[in-house]
Symmetry: none
Subunit: 204 residues, 4 copies
């Protein structure tokens, strides 16, 4: 009977993995996946490069775990929003707010996703990235089009252009957002929505 997790007291140590992944994510985000050496991650975590391979199969599998954990959580949030049956404007507001919350919680993962996802999506192992992107587009673009049809959003704008505009500006925030800074994610979301919905020009 190996692997019979001790009842209460012991730390069985899936936490070690978690710590190491957090460290790896931080370094990947800061330097880029390719430019990050396994040695550097190990150094940062306080062990030797080879020792990482006790916990993970490869550098790539660390990346994989980081990204998929992030996407799992992201979609949990998005799905809740999409299932709530809100109107287009409220849906958009909720999606944006949820996104900034994810950036707050998974900043390194989001940054990695932004930078690496394009040249990763091809590899079979990361097929879920493309899949996620597809669902993402479906959710956002759908909301935008519904809003335009129902009169909540302007109908004179190219929907795809609007989609890219929203998508990019939300997620790029991960590159400068620092958790624990002066703005909580909800506050950033609020201001962002204010700009996006009403524009930055003064209304005459």
């Amino acid at each position: 009977m190996p692997n019979s997790k001790k009842t209460t007291t012991e730390r069985p140590a899936p936490e070690r993995r978690g710590e190491l992944l957090a460290t790896a994510a931080e370094v990947f985000a800061a330097q880029g996946y390719n430019a990050t050496t396994v040695r550097r991650i190990a150094e940062e975590a306080g062990l030797l490069a080879g020792s990482l391979y006790y916990h993970f199969d490869s550098k790539e599998s660390m990346l994989d775990e980081i990204l998929s954990a992030f996407l799992d959580e992201l979609w949990a949030g998005y799905d809740a929003v999409l299932a709530a049956g809100l109107g287009p404007r409220e849906t958009l507001e909720a999606l944006v707010t949820e996104s900034f919350r994810e950036i707050d919680r998974h900043r390194p993962a989001v940054a990695i996703y932004q930078k690496e996802s394009p040249h990763l999506a091809g590899r079979p192992r990361f097929g879920y990235l493309a899949e996620s992107q597809r669902r993402f587009e479906e959710a956002w673009l759908g909301t935008i089009e519904r809003g335009a049809a129902e009169g909540a959003f302007r109908a004179d704008l190219d929907a795809r252009l609007t989609y890219r505009f929203l998508r990019d500006t939300v997620w790029v925030a991960a590159s400068w957002y620092r958790p624990g800074g002066q703005h909580a994610p909800e506050e950033i979301a609020r201001q962002y929505l204010s700009m996006v919905l009403d524009g930055i020009a003064v209304r005459e």
Copy 2:
């Protein structure tokens, strides 16, 4: 004008250099600087890896030339706009339009700049990136603040947040923009400005 070296070496046919740089930029943009091998560039250009070193000192110097050529041209455009003495709204419109024109002309360079500039800015050779960023912020943030003060832009928004929002909005487009597509850069600029200035929500 950074790194205008070439003190001793004889300069070869300058068109060949240009072709090679264009090829390199394309590959850097597609795969990332680090992930791009010199061999790959050479292959794409139809020669062997070693032969590139007749034309360039190093892989890094190719990157350098690509980025500085782009920034030189960008600033030529920006400086003309800034010197024209326009109001804040017109300045903003001109900066955005000019930016989309640069994306149109230097798409690979812009994409590289977006992806690599953060971890390049540290190295002395690329000091001009940080310098450029400083001037960039000065120009945009200044325009925004001036606009808020003069009543052209809303005063209830955090200026830095607005700045980042605009900056990202514009430049991230390089990641999906394809020259020769259905929208000319001026048309994209127009729609972007429409969204940014007036918002996407229908006014009641």
Copy 3:
């Protein structure tokens, strides 16, 4: 027009590959494929480990080339024998003689084949090993069975046992045979055939 092989004088250097492969084969045969380091091969060939990768994709691809070159030649010889329409005894004699000739020419490759083929045959890249073994069995076992049916060979022996007996003892010779020794391959084949066909006991 790159790759236009110079007309006569130059050594275009596919020979370099050949030399390196011969060296590699020698070392693989002496120490076993797994126990052989790329460094060791390079050392023996007078260059650095990394330099081998200019000529070959991987250690495995060297093994691949060595084995497939050997098998190609082996089957050229076997096919000639099998196409000659000889009787079973003459066919067997010719196959054995041809085998010893191949051992003479490709001793290291044969030794490697003996030692590594079992755990290699599984991998897709080395699928031709299994295929070769199948044809091999077909040729030898067929000859033995034909001989037993036509009265050239004893019919009281288990054909598969006889096949293994012949197969193994011929090829194991690669482990002790030294080309340039006192026995030419044809002489070894002759004595070997004498033992196998007539036995080592004195006839009463």
Copy 4:
């Protein structure tokens, strides 16, 4: 009896050792000593890699025990045959039969011995392999030469060639023999001897 160490350490349940050694031998035989990881052995035995080191000093010491146990038993059998004062033909028959019995009992050890002994014989720890080989040659070659001198075996054959032929014939069988198959070791020995002594050709 080489390497009977174990001066200080307490010895654990000897049956456990035996089981583990049998497992190790099986894996070594299947994949080769070098290609076998300690982890793999442990896995097969149902424990973790580190735990093997409670039972054995090192991977090499497992190999050592496997090989020396086999050789001890082999020589017990051979010595009995050689001490029996038989004629050359009967001695040869008895040696062959004894050899097939050992293959039947120690198949993995024999396979390992075949594959690894050449490049092991150099290391001091495995000096007994060379010693065993020497005695082996002495016994077999001596019997062959005696048989040729006394008229039991053909005198026109090269004795060393005959020796290698017999030696290989017998031991290579370990590579395909499966205990519990259709042929008992004595039956295989009988057929092998029949081929070797009388040949496979039909006598005219």
